[in-house]
């Protein structure tokens, strides 16, 4: 079976695990995507599959032959902070991650939402993100982060005057 994950093509042949999630975490060591319920109830395992938001815990691994998958590890191709995506930078600046366990799923749901609808209303964000539960209650901040990206607040490359570094700068100037 062939699977493209974060731009890399993997050829997998031996017995596959049940779910795409197990394949990502256990076989490809991409542990950013989280297992929480295994029943499609929480969204922690959300990834992008062929351009769409899916729960990888209920995506049959064998059915993914030929598919293209994007996970949280693929949002920032360089992996390091300078190359974080606008959405990731917005999550940092708006404090949209507390414990962070749901965050990879939230990011993937938001990423796909914005790819398909770059200028959502707040209600569209709320309903578009309603399949991703957060127990710490970061929802207001997640909404603010997605809103900010939709409004172009984090457009442009990292290292420009984004809120994160701007605020850090103001600290030292304070």
């Amino acid at each position: 079976m062939r699977l493209t994950v974060n731009g890399r093509v993997h050829t997998l042949d031996s017995a596959l695990p049940l779910s795409l999630l197990e394949l990502l975490r256990d076989r490809l060591a991409l542990t950013g995507t989280k297992f929480v319920c295994g029943r499609g109830e929480c969204g922690a395992c959300t990834v992008q599959l062929d351009g769409e938001t899916v729960y990888s815990c209920l995506t049959l691994a064998e059915a993914c032959d030929g598919a293209t998958v994007l996970t949280v590890e693929g949002l920032a191709p360089g992996g390091g902070e300078p190359s974080l995506s606008p959405l990731q930078r917005a999550f940092i600046a708006k404090d949209a991650a507390q414990c962070g366990f749901c965050t990879p799923g939230q990011l993937m749901a938001a990423h796909t939402l914005l790819a398909r609808n770059p200028h959502p209303t707040d209600d569209e964000i709320r309903s578009g993100m309603s399949g991703n539960l957060c127990r710490c209650g970061t929802y207001p901040k997640i909404l603010a982060a997605v809103r900010a990206v939709a409004d172009g607040e984090f457009a442009g490359s990292a290292g420009s005057a984004e809120a994160g570094s701007a605020e850090a700068g103001s600290v030292n100037a304070a």
Partner: protein, 322 residues
């Protein structure tokens, strides 16, 4: 979990051959089937992925107003489809309220109709009727989410939103079986016996699959209404839902969800009264009461009758004014 083989047939003939094997089931999104497998409630030996068959993901709209929905059409596709939204607005509305965005992307309309009840006694493996036992554990138990109409012996409710609308639209389920035999089953017959059949809630026989769903021309257009009461703002099954249709020929269909082992069409005399003229608040109240005359709530779900009455009143007033 029992080991299984995954099949991805390219033709209906291959799919039917695979489905003919013992313990073989059709596989769509897997959003419920995989859960029931993890729960030990389903132990299929073969999963036959029917999403890649010709036409399985097609929505065909015809000049006469009718439409044909391939069994593997995804819930999200139905919710977003322009002609469906225009002609079968209630179906678009119901599909947009299914689960979550990810679940709507993953699940198919056929799988949605075939999902098992969410009754927690069933899902927890309590030996009830659906789990090989005799009685219904909910009757004297935690039945706040169970049936108030047409329940028994099983009181689990059918969880599907689209099924409620498809019943109001008088859809036909096109089944494809061994030797490519086709049969058309009206949706109310499709769910007949949902409350008494221990093995499932549908009329699908072993070796069969849902090829498509036919929406008749007579149900296109008119006034279409779907309302769903959810505990949370999103991501809930209906406590009570209602599909209310006033067809362009003037006929009215009222179907309740969340109250019964299968979508529950209210007494046709009530539908006729709604069709026959303008209602006021008082007559709507009386009609709602008549529609729910047979309601027999269990110990903890009497509230569903109140909600159902409210939804009926709202829909009936809207339809009668249309």
């Amino acid at each position: 979990m029992r080991p299984f083989r995954y099949h991805r047939p390219a033709s209906s003939a291959d799919a039917l051959t695979a489905l003919g094997a013992p313990d073989s089931v059709a596989f769509g999104g897997g959003t419920d089937l995989l859960v029931t497998m993890k729960e030990g409630l389903a132990e299929p030996a073969h999963l036959v992925d029917v999403r890649h068959l010709r036409g399985a993901r097609d929505i065909t709209v015809r000049a006469d107003g009718s439409a044909r929905i391939g069994g593997a059409v995804r819930i999200a596709d139905l919710a977003a489809h322009g002609v469906i939204r225009e002609r079968f607005a209630a179906l678009a509305e119901a599909t947009s309220l299914v689960g979550t965005p990810a679940l709507r992307n993953m699940s198919t309309i056929a799988g949605n109709l075939c999902q098992r009840p969410r009754c927690w006694y069933f899902r927890r493996g309590v030996p009830c009727l659906k789990n090989g036992g005799t009685g219904c554990a909910a009757v004297d138990g935690e039945n706040q989410y169970h049936a108030i109409l047409g329940g028994g012996p099983c009181h689990a409710v059918h969880p599907s939103d689209p099924a409620v609308v498809l019943t109001a639209l008088e859809a036909t389920i096109e089944l494809l079986g061994p030797n490519e035999a086709r049969r058309s089953v009206p949706i109310d017959s499709f769910f007949e016996g949902a409350g008494s059949n221990p093995l499932g809630e549908t009329a699908i026989a072993h070796g069969e699959m849902i090829e498509a769903i036919e929406l008749p021309a007579r149900s296109a257009g008119g006034v279409q209404h779907y309302e769903k009461v959810m505990q949370r703002g999103a991501w809930d099954f209906a406590l009570v839902s209602l599909a209310g249709i006033k067809r362009s020929d003037g006929e009215v269909r009222l179907v309740l969800g969340g109250v019964s082992p299968a979508p529950y069409r209210v007494n046709q005399s009530v539908e006729e009264d709604v069709a026959s003229g303008a209602l006021d608040d008082e007559s709507a109240d009386a009609l709602a009461e008549r529609a729910l005359y047979d309601a027999a709530p269990l110990s903890k779900n009497g509230y569903k009758a109140v909600q159902a009455a409210a939804l009926l009143r709202r829909a009936m007033l809207e339809l009668s004014r249309a």
